[in-house]
């Protein structure tokens, strides 16, 4: 199923086999050298250097800066806020897109086509545009409030500059990826399987739990990891829509580095975030490797 597996593991086909192995290996390595150098020089090296720098004190090696970070109530509040935001937004986006994918799986016609198209719309809208648009839409006296007042609802309280603001933006941005992947996964469940289960008296919830969820479990896990990691490292959305305190780590790091001119603390914040991300990232990579292994 995964084309990545075929792409990376599959035997090389085509004209390549005409050339000798040595020449081909040299040519291949030469062609990938520059992008690989970019990965090493712009991701691996700065990260390694940063980890080293955070434990290098004036006269010795020590974890003092980390002790300070974890002892600081404000830093910890920001970290907790970031983790909670990433977790809740990612789960909400997944739940909503699973619902949409389910609807699409069992419906056809013009309404389904339109819902599908709408759910992919965020693919075409950059973060900065949707952030600004949500400020105008949901903000005080925004179009949403005006619409509600048309139907007589006057108690609207804007989510702008509260944690709900970035939450809504994150969910909005992260709908298309899981909708695409999950609806592709759900089409692999045959109508017969569902009908057979229904004939045997299985209730919808049981069909969902025992037939539909297992079929999409891996897609769900990978989509969760990707969305979670994306939100963890986000800046624009919380800067434009979020509260002043607590801050999400992106905003916090930017302020520490840019406004407070304190690269030492900013690097500690970045390493802590990367360490947390590496747990989820490692899980993402392991899931990918496992699924590729299974298909070989």
């Amino acid at each position: 199923m995964s084309d990545l597996a075929q792409m990376s593991a599959g035997a090389v086909r085509g004209p390549a086999k005409r050339t000798g192995h040595g020449t081909q290996a040299m040519a291949g390595l030469a062609l990938v050298a520059l992008p690989m150098a970019m990965l090493l020089g712009l991701i691996l090296w700065p990260t390694m250097r940063m980890i080293g720098a955070t434990v290098t004190l004036e006269d010795r090696i020590g974890a003092d800066r980390y002790v300070a970070f974890f002892g600081d109530a404000y830093s910890m509040a920001n970290l907790r806020f970031t983790l909670e935001m990433s977790l809740i937004s990612a789960l909400t986006a997944l739940a909503l897109s699973f619902g949409i994918a389910l609807y699409l799986r069992f419906s056809a016609g013009r309404i389904a086509t339109m819902i599908h198209a709408l759910s992919l719309f965020p693919l075409f809208v950059p973060s900065i545009i949707i952030s600004y648009a949500l400020v105008r839409f949901l903000g005080p006296n925004g179009l949403f409030q005006l619409l509600l007042e048309q139907i007589g609802i006057t108690q609207y309280r804007t989510p702008y500059l509260t944690p709900v603001g970035p939450f809504l933006a994150f969910v909005w941005e992260n709908l298309p990826l899981p909708v695409l992947v999950l609806s592709a996964g759900l089409t692999q469940v045959s109508d017969h399987a569902v009908e057979a289960a229904r004939d045997l008296g299985a209730r919808p919830l049981r069909i969902l739990w025992e037939i539909l969820l297992p079929q999409t479990r891996r897609s769900l896990l990978i989509a969760f990891a990707l969305i979670f990691l994306g939100i963890l490292g986000a800046y624009t959305v919380p800067y434009m829509l979020g509260p002043a305190a607590p801050e999400m780590m992106g905003v916090y790091m930017q302020r520490t580095l840019g406004n407070l001119q304190d690269p030492d603390s900013a690097q500690v914040q970045a390493v802590v975030l990367m360490a947390i991300a590496s747990v989820v990232g490692g899980f993402y990579i392991a899931t990918m490797l496992k699924s590729q292994g299974a298909e070989r």
Binding site: P46, S219, I222, L226, M253
Partner: protein, 266 residues
Amino acid sequence: MKRSPIGGLLILGSMALAMIGPIATVILWAFAIKWRYPHLLPTEWGMKYWFAMLGRETVITPVLTSLALTSISTTAAAVICWPAAYAFARLKFPGRQVMLFSFIAAQAVPKFALYVSIAVVFLRLGLVGNFWGVVVVQMLSAVLFMIWIPTAAFRGIPPALEEAAFDLGASRLRVFVQITLPQALPALAASYVLAFVSILFEVDGALLIGAPTVTTMPLLLMSLSAQIIVQEAAVLCVLIWVPCFIVLLLTRRFMTAKGIAQGFGV
């Protein structure tokens, strides 16, 4: 299974409001001269703010900077990534699988934290506040599109034609230019467009590496959005986003479940 369409219409309605509502608000603002609470729609329409914005140097300069930056870094990324994609798809060399995989794994790094580490290195190299520093860091956001879409495209080309040409004595270069390249061209173009748009609207790298001397269009948009005159940021949004949206629609056949799955290893 027979159902009434009411449920579907309800979902459709709320989706339409949530998806289109925010963008519609911005478009309304861009063409509004007067829109005061509690009017549902602007009471005075016009393009007054368009002319005001387009005549201002503080607007023109960032837009030109962004276009130059984006063209250079997207093209540079294409030059180094497309040949690599060909190699990943067609050549056999040690470490191929691990290297291709590392491009996908690189997405697991939280972006802003990574840019902090790059900013500290660039600060020492004198690349902060430097145009070329921003070019280099923005190339990173293009690498993903520029590797996976073309690699998949090259692999998707059936090798039969190429082999036939070889059998007739065509050189490797001639086969590539006349047979492989034309078939891969749509995917290459799509990867270029996707990378171009994502760099054009890139904020994190531009902010940490470019500010305050290099002001790009998204950074201008951020500062305008904090101002009292709503129309200015709205005009800029519509001006930049609408053309990108139309061009992106042309690439949508590459944004399929399969394409996305390849890129993210789902």
